[in-house]
């Protein structure tokens, strides 16, 4: 009887284990077909802590990559950082984890992740310096940028073009002068719309000048013809006052908003050029 039961229980155990550990081949197939939600769902449901370290690394990489494709960058960085150094996906995972942190404006973690990458490869060291220089630029730390960028070999073809752009962005950011909200407000008080032109919004300045100036003219015309006590004069004077004051206040806010737009635009450009070399090297 036991000769019959023992193989039967062994068979059941094999089936049981087989059901718990996910099929890496199938998950890879899903990932290659860009069924990223399904990959994440399967790996969230699966338990693979008891799987071999190699399989665990592969599954963590696939989960991290799918989350990255789904733009769930925080979870992606966490999964990618679980990939250990013997894995063939180690370097790709760490570099992309650092990039995810940078995208989430968690620059400290991004730099830590890059710092902890173990490599003796010159090209990867070069890439590491390049990524660090980009993160320094995102922090607007020009000294750190110069230090890191000096160590980058810009002739290395995957980063050649991106490094040229990065240098250009650094120069533009260094040369950038912030506009004064006070000056802009004063200018708009003297000539409506001129402060907005000073802030860099020429179209808005012209539009404000025409609107506020037009209302001022109508008010003056009514005053000249009918005097202050006329309803039309009072009405247009009220509307003119609201638009005049609104234009000054709007100009002050425009300086702040334009500055934010400028900084955000450069952040996006830097992130884009940090991303391109990663795709060139690892894809």
């Amino acid at each position: 009887m036991r000769y019959v039961l023992t193989p039967f229980f062994v068979f059941l155990m094999i089936i049981g284990f087989g059901q718990k550990s996910p099929d890496a081949g199938f998950i890879e197939h899903l990932m290659n077909r860009e069924y990223h939600k399904e990959v994440v769902h399967l790996l969230d449901e699966a338990e693979y802590k008891n799987a071999s370290p190699r399989l665990q690394d592969s599954l963590n990489y696939m989960k991290g990559w799918s989350l990255y494709s789904l733009k769930e960058l925080k979870r992606s960085a966490h999964a990618l950082k679980l990939v250990s150094s013997p894995s063939p996906f180690y370097h790709k995972s760490r570099f992309f984890a650092a990039y995810n942190h940078a995208h989430l404006t968690n620059y400290k973690k991004a730099l830590e992740t890059l710092e902890n990458i173990k490599t003796t490869d010159d090209n990867l060291q070069n890439l590491k310096h390049f990524e660090k220089s980009g993160i320094a630029l995102l922090q607007r730390d020009y000294k750190a940028f110069d230090q890191q960028f000096d160590q980058v070999d810009t002739s290395y073809y995957p980063i050649a073009k991106a490094s040229g752009n990065m240098e250009r962005y650094a120069q533009k950011l260094k040369a950038h002068n912030k506009k004064s909200p006070w000056v802009a407000g004063m200018m708009s008080a003297l000539v409506p719309g001129s402060g907005k032109i000073y802030a860099g919004k020429t179209g808005q300045g012209i539009s404000s000048f025409l609107t506020v100036g037009g209302m001022g003219f109508v008010t003056w015309e009514n005053y000249r013809k009918n005097g202050w006590k006329d309803f039309k004069t009072l009405f247009f004077a009220t509307v003119f006052s609201a638009f005049y004051a609104g234009n000054i206040h709007g100009t002050v806010m425009t300086v702040k908003i334009t500055e934010n737009e400028f900084q955000k635009e450069y952040d996006n450009k830097i992130l884009f050029h940090l991303h391109i070399p990663l795709r060139n090297v690892f894809n």
Partner: protein, 153 residues
């Protein structure tokens, strides 16, 4: 005997039909609800008929809510949004729309700053000023420039 069988056979068939079709109806019902919810969410931002309430509806301060200036201003905005604006073919360049922006600005920052922000927004809502809209502010879902009142704190 024949009649007895027929009667119960009909009832049985009806019961079985009900059991099978009800599960399908329920399944369809869930799908239909999800589809409707999806459509509602997808079209919510583009719709011309959302958030058109009286500006001081949620106001707790009775003086602010019922004083003649508030009633006149709120009433005019309400009439504009629900009767006049819907007749225009031209659409605002920004999200939220100028009237909605004005309403929210008054509700959030009070009458004086709200009016100043709304008047400034009106001077920016034309094709000349639209040339300065930054591409990064354009939303994928609404195809309009995101310009919420919280930017003006």
């Amino acid at each position: 005997m024949q009649k007895w069988w027929n009667k119960y056979l009909v009832i049985l068939i009806l019961l079985v039909s009900v059991v099978f079709t009800s599960s399908e109806i329920m399944a369809q019902g869930v799908d239909a609800v999800e589809d409707l919810q999806f459509l509602k969410e997808a079209t919510h931002e583009k719709s011309h008929f959302h958030e058109r309430e009286y500006v001081f509806k949620e106001e707790t301060n009775a003086f602010v809510k019922y004083n003649p200036v508030s009633v006149t201003l709120g009433g005019l905005l309400y009439i504009y949004q629900n009767s006049i604006s819907q007749q225009f073919s031209a659409k605002c360049l920004y999200h939220p729309s100028c009237s909605q922006f004005g309403k929210r600005a008054i509700a959030e920052y009070g009458f004086v700053k709200g009016i100043m922000l709304a008047s400034d927004r009106l001077t920016r809502c034309n094709k000349v000023a639209g040339l300065d809209i930054h591409p990064l502010t354009i939303s994928d879902s609404t195809q309009k420039s995101n310009d919420p009142v919280k930017l003006y704190r």
